[in-house]
């Protein structure tokens, strides 16, 4: 079996300094552009040099790739909507995209629904241990760390700690649990997310298992990933060496720990909701949803909501126009539309001006639906969406409440 685990870094010392973890991703992107393996790179870039304000950048000049270098934990964006909405789903453009696991999963869900052209995308997955809302992060740096947010030069999450680097090169670290007690938590969808390594992308890059900060640990997840890396190594743009068993183990250990934490958190939250009586649960959700001011932010930010003719528009005749809070159907329609496909990316909740815990609602249903249909959204591009497929086998199953022959054997 071929080895899929490598450590990689840039041979260019300038890039090494600018990027994180040896600048492997930056070098790879630059090489891909220079050699016309892609037409453009879509990555995240700081605006006004602030680590709390990220904007997507479509880069076509190889010499500008470095502008997007480095990880951003305080400004979570979703790249999927941009490809779908403004780049025609990459129908006639080959784009390399850096993506968190939730972005990668949303790409897979949209590709299944013919909204993005997977063949034209080179997905560079970045491992993710979670992100903070910019507003929360800014306040946290000021109050919990006692530093000026403008002095922030970098941040990373490792071993249950949030480590920040200041412009003078010094670092400060704090326990995530301690920060949470002070009211500074990651986005709640991140706390629940158990996809820490984006194996649905073409390659998955991260720090876990690297030696110190000098290299990027890369797992190759597809033949396209293989092809790009091989070309970059041969072209002298990347140095790669096979990861040692020890390094692979170390990475695995960190992943398992993070995944277990996330699963425990998800279980706790969902159990809490399940513990409510129906009446309590209804009051809980109606109470939240009645605060909605119908700004359409959740729909517009959601990568999964892609319809040109949306049911929520008054002319469709479902939701009367000019009313706030909108008819309860407003959220229930959206809920039913993302029931099988929500990837828990958190965008809807991030943009909601009324701070309605939308991802908790969508994620709760999505977990249940995933169980029934044995369907994990955004993982396997060959697994068809469960609400728009049926199998021949189901023709021979009579009971109206099961779709598998032996429900208990699952």
């Amino acid at each position: 079996m071929e080895n899929n685990f490598y450590l990689a870094w840039s041979p260019d010392s300038k890039i090494q300094e600018m990027g994180s973890s040896g600048g492997a991703v930056t070098s790879l992107l630059k090489f891909a552009l220079e050699n016309k393996m892609v037409d453009a790179v879509l990555a995240v870039k700081k605006r006004n040099n602030s680590r709390f304000d990220a904007v997507p950048a479509l880069i076509t000049d190889p010499d500008l790739v470095h502008e997007a270098a480095g990880a951003m934990h305080f400004a979570p964006l979703n790249m999927v909507k941009i490809i779908k909405e403004y780049l025609d789903g990459a129908m006639d453009m080959r784009v390399a995209v850096t993506c968190k696991p939730c972005d990668a999963r949303a790409f897979i869900e949209l590709a299944k629904r013919n909204q993005v052209h997977r063949e034209n995308l080179f997905l560079i997955g970045l491992n993710c241990s979670g992100t903070f809302l910019p507003t929360v992060a800014e306040q946290m740096i000021r109050e919990a760390y006692g530093e000026n947010p403008q002095d922030l030069a970098g941040e990373e999450v490792d071993g249950g700690k949030l480590i920040i680097t200041l412009k003078d090169g010094s670092t400060r670290e704090k326990d995530l649990e301690e920060l949470a007690r002070q009211g500074f938590e990651m986005r709640e969808n991140c706390l629940r997310c158990s996809y820490k390594i984006p194996r649905m992308a073409d390659i998955a890059c991260g720090k876990w298992g690297n030696k110190g900060n000098a290299a990027t640990f890369i797992e190759i997840c597809s033949s396209k990933g293989h092809e790009f890396l091989e070309a970059a190594v041969q072209g002298g743009a990347l140095v790669m060496e096979t990861a040692t068993d020890e390094q692979i183990e170390e990475r695995k250990r960190k992943e398992t720990e993070a995944v277990e934490n996330a699963q425990a958190r998800e279980k706790k939250e969902l159990d809490e909701l399940k513990g409510y009586s129906s009446q309590q649960r209804l009051e809980y959700w109606v109470g939240h949803l009645n605060r909605c001011i119908k700004c359409f932010g959740c729909r517009d930010a959601c990568p999964i909501c892609f319809c040109k003719e949306c049911y929520l528009e008054p002319y469709r005749g479902c939701i009367p126009g000019g009313e706030t809070p909108p008819d309860i159907m407003f959220q229930l329609i959206r809920l039913s539309h993302v029931a099988d496909s929500c990837v828990n990316c958190g965008q809807c909740q991030d943009v909601c001006p009324m701070e309605i815990p939308l991802t908790r609602l969508y994620n709760f249903l999505n977990r249940e639906v995933a169980d029934i249909f044995e369907y994990e959204p955004g993982v396997d591009i060959n697994q068809p969406p469960p609400l728009t497929t049926v199998t021949d086998q189901e023709l021979f199953i009579d009971p109206p409440d099961i779709i598998y022959e032996d429900a208990s054997a699952r």
Partner: protein
């Protein structure tokens, strides 16, 4: 109290099987509760989960869907898509706090007049026991709808 309660039930019936089954129950003079209001569809595959949720938010106490048995849908697999959608919609209802039992899917062939009467009887009884649909009161009363 629940015994006095007269639930409103919306039934979506497939033209080819259950609607004919209902007809047969009628001409055979079988007794079943008069609580259902019927919408006839060419196939249960036409049902969008939104129809169900919308009916419930608009004050219906239960939704019954009846269609052809698997393998007998006139359009191949319309009923199978619906079975999947109903499974999802029941979870959706449960997750927002509506008893999933307010939604019921049954297969009733054109020849199954007695079964149709039985399904309606049982579902009406069950809905009666659940009591009035809380979603309608919670979401609309205060808005005066």
């Amino acid at each position: 109290m629940s015994n006095d309660f007269d639930p409103k039930i919306l039934a979506f019936l497939c033209n080819w099987c259950s609607y004919a089954g209902a007809d047969l129950a009628g001409v055979s003079r079988m007794q079943y509760p008069p609580n259902i209001r019927v919408i006839r569809l060419m196939c249960t595959g036409r049902i969008d989960p939104i129809f169900i949720i919308n009916a419930l938010t608009r004050g219906v106490d239960g939704v019954l869907i009846a269609g052809c048995h698997p393998g007998e849908c006139h359009y191949g697999k319309g009923n199978l898509y619906t079975r999947r959608r109903v499974l999802m919609t029941k979870k959706l209802l449960e997750c927002i706090g509506i008893e999933p039992e307010r939604l019921h899917l049954a297969w009733v062939a054109a020849s199954e007049g007695p079964k149709f009467a039985e399904v309606v009887k049982e579902f009406t009884e069950e809905t009666k026991n659940l009591g009035p649909n809380p979603l309608a009161t919670l979401t609309r009363e205060e808005k005066g709808k």
